[in-house]
Each structure stands twice: as C-alpha cells, then as structure tokens.
C-alpha cells in the first residue's frame, strides 16, 4: 500500500441492539479494521461528538491497535457535518471510511452522502474491501447480495461506507485502549436547528406482512431466505451515447418524483 495516502476512519458510538448499551458500532469497527489492514498504525481515527461523554467506547476503537485518536469536540445537538468536512479537507484525507449508518442518533445514513457532496468527492457505498491503490486510483470491491462482489475503480480522494460483508473487526485490547491518547480538537459547532424541535419517542413495531415462501425445493427456500431485495424493475443501458443515458436516468428520477 502507498504510505502517502492518508486514511481516516470515522467513528460513532454504537448501540447494542439487545441491551441498548454503548459499544463499538459494527460497521465503523469494520472501517477501522479495513484502515488498519491498509495503512496499519498510520490510520487516523476521528470521532465528532461531545467530549464529556464516557470515553470507554472510543478507547475500544483505539484498543484495536492505535496509539491515538482525534476527538472533534462538538456541542450536544450540533450538526457535525461542517466541522467534519473542514477537518478532513484540512488534513488532506485520501480515503475516508465509515459505516453505512450510525447505530444511534438520527441514524439516517445521510452523513457519507452529505460529506461527499460538501467535499465534492466521489462516494462508494457498501464496500467489502479495498484491494489496491495505485497512482491515485483505488480498486474497490462493492458488496452485493449473496456474496457477490463488483470491482470498481475510484479516484482518490473518496468516501467509502463499509458493508457488513467487510472483514470483521479485530478484538480490542483493553490495556492499549486505556493508554491511547485522545487528542481533543476544539472546533466550531453548528447548531442543528431542525433537530432542536424534534420530539423523540421510542419506535413502535408495526405489523408486518408475513413472508410466505412458495418454494418447492430446499434450494429455493434457501435462496429466498438469503437473498437481499434485488430491485425488480430497472433496465441496463448499454447502447447509446452518454447524453442519452443521462437523459434516461433524468427521466426516471422525474418519474419517481425524486426531482421535480
């Protein structure tokens, strides 16, 4: 791997689905794992959040084998996007890794996209691995349903979100996590006006239609049980000029009322 690529893994405070307790977020931990395999101890860990909180979860990330991590200090209810974007730009990040969505908070999954938009960088979502980086271009494997992969090339700098198919995070070591230095960087907090007026209440489980599998063979049942939703319609455009293809996409977005 090229040592001059600066790799950043963004960390969030996860939430255990059974106990609701703070933990290493599964996908963010995978982002750290991938970063460690890419650049080892040169990996940069960044968490944007308030400094007062119990730092044991951050130390769990550091305990995966890193001597320090950066804490971008933010007030409660702050929108972390502006300061995170600024920080990444100022530090000449080459690759920014993170989970698809946070396990707590809004958990909208929008952060990587908003970050990419703000920085003007490409984003590759749900990657399984970064195979190689050569001359500013990375060979990335996207995770597709049922163990399939798609190889794509992305120019640096870019943002990547980690699918659960990426290699599982290594164990955290309590001792080295405890000794890790948490460098607190104070940064400007932008108050997120929108969320201030939100009322948060526990989600109620909604009735769900039972999935009836009309499969005749075990292989079919297995397929039905393991397949992720593969979008039904759609068409693959192979013919035509780029302009025609772009028009087709534009028409579809209009039709689906994504843009008006």
């Amino acid at each position: 791997m090229l040592p001059d690529v600066k790799v950043f893994s963004l960390l969030s405070i996860g939430r255990h689905p059974q106990s609701g307790r703070a933990r290493r977020a599964e996908q963010d931990a995978r982002a750290v794992e991938l970063g460690l395999t890419l650049v080892g101890r040169d990996l940069n860990l960044v968490h944007a959040g308030s400094a007062q909180q119990d730092d044991s979860v951050l130390r769990q990330y550091a305990g995966m084998g890193l001597p320090a991590l950066t804490l971008l200090e933010q007030e409660e209810n702050a929108d972390i996007l502006p300061s995170l974007a600024k920080f990444l730009q100022n530090n000449q990040a080459g690759i920014v890794l993170m989970g698809v969505r946070a396990e707590s908070g809004e958990s909208s999954g929008m952060l990587p996209y908003l970050l990419a938009e703000k920085l003007g960088w490409p984003i590759v979502s749900r990657i399984a691995d970064i195979v190689d980086i050569k001359e500013g271009v990375a060979d990335v494997l996207l995770a597709l349903p049922r163990g399939q992969r798609r190889a794509v090339q992305v120019a640096l700098p870019f943002i990547a979100t980690l699918d659960n198919a990426a290699s599982a995070p290594r164990q955290t070591a309590y001792g080295s996590g405890l000794r890790a230095k948490i460098e607190v960087v104070s940064s400007e907090s932008t108050v997120d006006d929108l969320t201030l007026n939100w009322q948060v209440s526990p989600a109620k489980p909604r009735p769900k239609r039972m999935k009836v599998v009309k499969a005749k063979t075990a292989a079919d049942r297995f397929k039905a049980a393991t397949a992720k939703l593969a979008g039904g319609g759609g068409q693959v455009l192979k013919e035509g000029t780029p302009a025609e293809k772009a028009q087709a996409i534009f028409d579809l977005l209009l039709e689906e009322k994504v843009i008006r």
Binding site: Q18, S19, R21, G63, A173, G175, S176
Partner: protein
C-alpha cells in the same frame, strides 16, 4: 594423609560455590515484581509446611514418600554432620556414629530411587535426573567409608602401602568431588537438586500461604487496574518473565519434574498442546535465559507445536514469553481445572501463571482465540456471554412465581440464578431446584434482571477488567438487599462469589453464607425439610465439578444427598480431589484449541467404565459438556433434578 586437608578443602570450596550459586539464583528471582511476604514467619513455618503439607501430597504415592523421607532426610542430616565432622573436624564418636546412621538411611532411600529410575514412567523427566540416584549412592557410600576411621571402626594401625594410599585418596577424592558437585553445586546452579533449595524457599515464601495447614486459597488475584499502574509503563498481565511476582519465579524453580501434573492434566491427555510440567520448565528457561535444550521430559503433545525441536524454544527474563518460548495455544488449552495444582508436591501454582499470561494476550494484545473476542464483547455489552437481551434474563421463571429482590428487599435465601437462565437445558436444573426450595418452604428471592454474569468466563479468558467491572456492579446490587444465605446451582459463579468477590472492598457478602445448591439441599434434607423417596433407577456415578471440589473442597454434600436417596455411588477411578475435568472450565469450550480427543469424551469413558446408567453432576457446565458426548451414553442429570424427581409432595 592428604585427605585430612583435601576433604575439608573440597567441602568448603563446594559450599562456597553453592553459596555463590544461591545468591545468583536469588537475584534471578528478584527480577520478578515485588510482593509482600512475611520473610521471618515464612522461614519459621517452612519445616512444618514441608513435613505436613508437602508430605501430605507426596504421601499419595507411598513408595515415593518413604523413599524421599529416607533419602532427603538422610541427606540433610548427613550433610549437617559432614560439616561438623569433616569440615570443622569435631572429634566425637557419637557424631560420627550418627553420621554413619544418616548415611545408611540415605543409602537405603537412594537404592529405591535407583530402582525406580531403572524403568521410569513416562511422566518422569530423564536427562540429568537419571544420574541423580547414582550420585546419591556415591555420596552415601563415599562418606560412609570416609567416616569409618573417625568412628573408630578402622583400627589406627590399618595401613596400606604408599601406592595403595595414593590410589585410595585419588578415588575417594574423585567420588567426593562427583557427589558433592551434584549435591551442593548442582543445588544452586540448576541441577536436579535445585528442587531442594528452591523448594524449601518456595514453601517459606509461597504466594498463597493460606494453603498450608489444611486451608484453601483458589481465587485468582486481581490485576491492578489503577491509573498509576498503567502510567508507569507496565503492562496488564504477564508479558515477560520479569512481570511475574518474584515468588512466582521462585515457585517455578521448585519443580522436581515428577510429572504428576502431566499425568493428571486433561488437556495433555486429550492431545492438546499443553503439558503443565513443560510449561513450568519453560518458565524457568524464561527467567534464567537460554533455550529448552536441557529439558528431558515429555513435550507439548500437539504435532504443530511439537514440530519445534528441543532447544528451539528461547527465552530471556525480558523477552515476551509468547514470542518464541511458548505458543499461545498452550496457554489457551488449560481448562483451569486445578488438577495439576492439587497434585503438585511442590505446591506450584500453574493456573495462576497461565491466567497471568492470558491476561496479557487478552488485555494488551487483543488475541483471545476463536470465539473469545465475541464472547467478551457480548459480556461487556449485555452482561451475558451470548448477547441475549438483559431484559430477558428472567423469562425462564415466568411460571415459577419467584419473588424478586427488587420487590421484597429482604429474604432468607437469595438464589443466584447465573447465566444458566438463558440456556434451556440449564433451565431444567433451575426449575428442579426451585421445586425443591418450594417444597421445603424456603423464603427465597432472585435478583431477576438485576443479576449479571458472575465474570467467571471473562476472568479465565484473561479479561480481568470486565470481571472487575461485573464484580463491582454485582456487589453494588447485592448490597442493596438483605439475605443470610446465597445459593447458586453454578459452581463457577459460586467460586467467584465466594472466593473472588472479596477483593473489591464491598461488605455486601459479609456475614452471608455463600453456598452451592448441593450443600444447601443437604442441609434441608438433614433438617428434615425435604421428604424424598428412594431411587430405583440403576447404577449411578457422580462427577465432581472442579469448581466445586478442588476449588471449594465440597466433596461430601453431593455424595450425602445421593446417599439420602439410597444411591450407592459407583465411584470413578478419578473422583474426589482427583476428578477429571469435563473440559468446560476456563473458557476452554470458547477458545476451543484442537486436540486428538475431546476431554468430555474421555470423562464419559470414565463414567461408562463404572457401568453406571446415570451420571449425577452438580454443574450446568459439566451437564452441557457431558451431554455433548454422542449417544449411546449414560444419562446426565444434575443432583437437583434427581432429587426433584424423587420428591414426596406433602400437601398441607
């Protein structure tokens, strides 16, 4: 005669050399960490510890204990008298005759040592140990001959020719040199006799003095997690030999390589890469430096590890142990069953050392093998090893109508349910026990969802941070309520609560009887609070759980309970303090180091060989391990289940 001055010179020289060796050896031990030991009291207590506690263990092998008394006792007495008679030159017939007596005794012992060494069992180390009986014999015979004139047995007029005298002098001097080199020089410079020197001091400065005089000390010592311990550049657990306490290093040096641990170790028997004797010798290589080339006993069984030739394991006092000296798999093969510790005549603490080194691997390197990391993550996030919702801990008792401590605040008995609450097989044990408690009208309550994992698995996997966190939180919960007795069906939780929670400065369990359910049920039966009918189901044997038996000395209550049902136990060959582990302790099922056989299968073979149709156990972990053996095999039942099925319900 030349011998008149040569003999004292030889003795003095070797004594001085031995003294230098002793200082050198002690400095090696001092490379370890400081540990407070009462030096004077220890030294004063040493003879009694030797004669009583050590010999209590040696006595299990009658042949060897008598041999050792004669040889060792004879040698100590003879050496003292040799110094008086031959070095200082006290001319006393009484002393000389006493010396002759001591030497005769030693000779008799040495003959038996010699006899055993002619065809030694595989557990014994060979190499330098094979020459020891010869030197013992030479020592006793040579000094016997040399003492004869002083005792006045040889007439003063007894003379040889000049040549004869020279010859005799030469031969005797050579023999004296040979035997004294072994007995004195070898004692402090690493020969087989080192066991006498280090062993005596080990008894005096033992890290667990509570073990002497019939006591018991089995709880692991906590890791110091205070900030200052981390700041000073120290690591958690033991990375290098110098991270052990000094008296642990001394303990390793006491090993006589008798291999009794090896013969008892379930992991060794299963072909997993662990041999407690080799492990202790590797520790010695570690702090003394060098390689294991002089080791002449059986090795770690596993082929992958065995691939290393003798001499390839290298160590040094400041070398990381798992980096060339010991394969981590060796450490993870241990089930912490304590069979080796129980059997060790030198009272070496193998399990402490293994867990110390595991702590480094888990807390500093994050290298707990196989499912270890996942289990630890689950324990941290959900307080149970399998990651179940903490709020579902009491689901098993939905139909049991049990009081919750949260509601009643106070009860006669607190039933510690343990993580068996999440396992459907263990729930059968829990329900049976509740049935018995209700039949006896016991005022009982449970903690419900407030209970957490006891921390046993986390601690044995080396994660002492998580153990301590669980212990402190559990103690805080227990401290809110009032109860006189705490009962649990899980010997692992029982051991933690009884022996390991005391280190965290809480008075929550002060004045509380912490009991295993078999002990408690035995009390109920004896008090006549439970009526049971005789058991008519065929032959039954009983498997002693390690954490109930060796860890807590409870061998009787389960047997009395079975006897109360009219069951005559078909004892297994290895039962009681020699019970073989089921393979389920120490996180071994989680780290799952491959061997040639499964420990549980071997234990089931023990059960089958008694002809029993049922094996009674007192531990959910043992139940799970033994039931995991493929059928056909005897039925596995917890004593609570057997008892509940024989209960006579008294309707009032």
């Amino acid at each position: 005669m030349i011998l008149d001055w040569l003999l004292p010179t030889l003795i003095l020289t070797l004594l001085v050399l031995a003294g230098i060796g002793a200082v050198r050896r002690m400095n090696m031990w001092r490379a370890g960490q400081a540990e407070k030991v009462d030096i004077i009291a220890g030294l004063l207590a040493m003879p009694k510890r030797y004669l009583h506690d050590l010999h209590h263990v040696v006595e299990r092998d009658k042949y060897m204990s008598r041999t050792h008394v004669a040889t060792g006792g004879g040698f100590v007495l003879a050496m003292a008298l040799v110094i008086l008679v031959h070095l200082i030159g006290i001319e006393s017939k009484v002393l000389s005759w006493m010396l002759l007596g001591a030497l005769s005794m030693m000779f008799c012992g040495a003959v038996f040592v010699f006899k055993r060494r002619r065809n030694p069992p595989s557990r014994l180390s060979k190499g330098p140990w094979m020459r020891l009986p010869k030197n013992l014999l030479i020592f006793s015979v040579t000094f016997f001959v040399l003492t004869l004139p002083a005792a006045g047995v040889l007439p003063a007029s007894f003379t040889l020719g000049v040549m004869g005298q020279w010859f005799l002098t030469l031969v005797l001097s050579a023999l004296v040199l040979m035997s004294l080199s072994e007995m004195l020089f070898g004692m402090t410079w690493g020969g087989p006799m080192k066991h006498a020197f280090a062993g005596a001091l080990h008894l005096a400065f033992h890290r667990r003095p509570e073990r002497f005089g019939g006591g018991r000390s089995t709880g692991l010592k906590p890791v110091d997690l205070e900030d200052n311990a981390l700041a000073s550049g120290k690591v958690l657990g033991v990375a290098k030999p110098s991270d052990f306490k000094w008296n642990q290093l001394l303990g390793f040096d006491a090993c006589v390589q008798c291999g009794r641990c090896e013969a008892m170790c379930p992991a060794f028997a299963a072909g997993q890469p662990l041999n407690p004797k080799k492990l202790i010798q590797d520790m010695v290589v570690g702090f003394a430096g060098g390689t294991d080339e002089h080791y002449a006993g059986s090795r770690y069984p596993d082929k992958a590890v065995e691939g290393k030739a003798v001499g390839e394991a290298k160590g040094g006092v400041d070398h990381i142990i798992t980096d060339g000296l010991i394969n981590p798999e060796t450490l993870w093969s241990c089930t912490t069953c304590r069979a080796c510790v129980e059997e060790c005549p030198m009272m070496i603490e193998h399990v402490d050392a293994i867990v110390d080194m595991r702590r480094f691997l888990t807390l500093e390197k994050g290298e707990t093998p196989n499912k270890g990391a996942e289990i630890l993550d689950n324990i941290i996030a959900t307080d149970n090893p399998n990651g179940y919702a903490p709020a579902s801990r009491t689901h098993w008792a939905a139909d049991q109508n049990l009081n919750l401590m949260k509601d009643v605040k106070k009860a006669e008995v607190l039933f510690w349910v343990s993580d068996g609450a999440f396992d459907m097989r263990s729930q059968r044990i829990l329900r049976s026990f509740v049935t018995l408690l209700k039949a006896a009208n016991v005022d009982v309550a449970i903690l419900g969802d407030e209970e957490r994992d006891s921390g046993d698995v986390a601690r044995r996997l080396g994660d002492d941070a998580t153990f301590q966190s669980l212990a402190k939180r559990n103690l805080a919960t227990l401290g809110q309520y009032e109860f006189k007795t705490l009962v649990t069906t899980d010997p692992h939780a029982f051991h933690c609560l009884k022996n390991e929670y005391g280190d965290f400065g809480s008075d929550a369990l002060e004045g509380v009887d912490v009991l295993h359910h078999t002990t408690f049920l035995n009390q109920l039966i004896k008090a006549g609070r439970l009526q049971v009918e005789g058991f008519k189901g065929g032959k039954v044997t009983y498997h002693d759980p390690c954490y109930l038996g060796r860890y807590n000395g409870e061998y009787e209550a389960p047997r009395e309970l079975l006897a109360s049902l009219g069951i005559e136990i078909e004892e297994m060959e290895r039962s009681g303090y020699r019970s073989r582990c089921c393979g389920g302790g120490g996180g071994a099922p989680i780290t799952d180091i491959p061997g040639e056989r499964r420990i549980a299968d071997m234990r089931m073979e023990d059960v089958v060989s008694t002809g029993a149709e049922m094996v009674a156990v007192g531990c959910q972990q043992c139940t799970a391990m033994l039931e995991g053996v493929v059928e056909p095999r005897p039925v596995v039942k917890d004593i609570a289940e057997i008892l509940a099925s024989q209960l006579i319900e008294v309707h009032s």
